[in-house]
Symmetry: none
Subunit: 300 residues, 2 copies
């Protein structure tokens, strides 16, 4: 390990065989690019994402970098800095083989806000979810410790109120500023927020208290620095709760899609059927099959 940073790099990159066909999304703000292409004749999606600059590496970065002046004006100047390679890794996420659905997921699309009544859920959304039957195998792999077992931060094994807490893929676990964990419930009968009733309060309260406790113990971050919420619609239909650092500006914490766990608990305490009856707003992308279902039903 010549870089001296305790990591081992293979000499030959399997990604050297990747051929880009289209750029699905290019976020200059977030320094992330989403590519669709072929990896050894298989369809693949590759996401390249520059990593946050770590405070504990800036001293080494300043001493070990090459510098080129770009512009100088009064007290302001800008430079291009070439840091040592091991301080400047890029995170690559590979989905291979990728289906049409994966490709669509990462493609930028216009979104539309849908208002779903309790009846709309039963007549439009639920049949759509059932006919799609998205695979949850990767979730079950986690719950059964067949994958990612070493990433688990905390587990409550109880079959009714238990859950597994682990870092989201989006978080590199290097700094607390963008902490992102997911609590995945052990029970397999809850698709989403829509199906929650007063009967699930013990589950939700358990996730809230034990999840916050685990984050405090493992990462030193108290509940007052956490945003704890569910998505509706979720990206997969097995109940899960997001734990993100309050200060971070992660996607998906917008009011149009996120529901604070503390509000969900209070709503169910006031009315156990709240999420069965309530009209819920959420954005759907232009290419989402569910949007077409709402359009056909004259609900948009």
């Amino acid at each position: 390990d010549p870089s001296g940073n305790g990591e081992e790099y293979g000499e030959k990159s399997i990604l050297s065989g990747f051929k880009t066909t289209t750029v699905l999304k290019d976020s200059a703000l977030e320094k992330t690019i989403f590519l669709h292409g072929k990896l050894d004749d298989q369809e693949a999606v590759v996401i390249l994402q520059k990593t946050p600059i770590r405070e504990d590496t800036v001293a080494e970065m300043f001493s070990g970098s090459r510098l080129k002046l770009e512009m100088r004006n009064d007290i302001y100047s800008t430079y291009h800095l070439q840091p040592p390679a091991h301080l400047n890794v890029i995170k690559a996420t590979v989905v291979c083989p990728a289906t049409e659905k994966h490709v669509k997921k990462y493609q930028v699309q216009e979104s539309f806000l849908v208002e779903e009544t309790g009846e709309d859920y039963l007549s439009i959304t639920l049949p759509y979810i059932q006919e799609q039957s998205f695979s949850l195998q990767w979730v079950f792999n986690i719950l059964e410790k067949k994958a990612e077992a070493d990433r688990i931060v905390y587990e409550d094994p109880d079959p009714d109120v238990g859950f597994v807490l682990l870092p989201d893929f989006k978080w590199d676990q290097k700094q607390m500023e963008d902490l992102y964990l997911i609590a995945i419930v052990h029970r397999r009968d809850l698709k989403s927020l829509r199906e929650l009733t007063a009967a699930h309060l013990p589950l939700l309260q358990n996730i809230s208290s034990k999840g916050k406790g685990a984050v405090l113990e493992r990462y030193g971050l108290p509940a007052s620095k956490l945003r704890v919420y569910l998505h509706y619609q979720p990206s997969y239909y097995h109940l899960h709760v997001h734990f993100t650092a309050l200060g971070s500006e992660v996607r998906g914490c917008g009011v149009e899609r996120a529901h604070l766990l503390s509000d969900v608990v209070q709503n169910l305490q006031s009315d156990g059927q709240h999420y069965r009856k309530r009209t819920l707003c959420f954005p759907l992308r232009a290419d989402d099959g569910l949007l077409r279902k709402f359009e056909r039903a004259g609900r948009l």
Copy 2:
């Protein structure tokens, strides 16, 4: 120029003499860090910012990088990728000598999530708002057409349910992607969401329907492309409603501070006293006087 990319790098970096004293801001999302320190005995601010990934360099990046497997699960895998240094420069901006004002400009304040019960509002928050007596003269100037009259997009002059709709300062009105309007109510007796009851449903429904109608007529943007919400805590205590483009990632639309108008209406229809009784979560900055009041009351 051995890197062959047409750039010349000095052998010795003037930044190697930079000593960090504090991290002013660390944006993991934008891969940018703001540092305050000393450069050759002068106060300086240094901003390090990773650069966007360029589409025209990805082929070279894939062929010339070293790769290390991080995680594999089913069709998903993640890697650390060390690209050639010249494809992975960091932009450095230096302000030197920097004044106190430069330092403050880049400083972020930590935020803390507060849980305010209905009683907390009456015993902590309301007295604080009243003793601060923030000036609302600029709001009254708008309502009385003494200022910004030419910016008004729509007005309903009714004293009970009426409002003025105008662009927020953050929006330059150049493109619809980041549309941002504010509806300010004519009545002056409502400080915030906390004071709303079922009696205010006609006001809220009027803002929803006429506000959306005005945005459609003036900007061609339908309700399905709008995020309509209130802040709690608001930045000023005269009731107002935010209208922003659904796709835009504006600050302040996060679930920890924003309340969808459609949810507010439904909550008040279910229980006219909802916002008097409910525990509401919101973030407060470390330098906010209200945070100190909550601390002193032992509520944090």
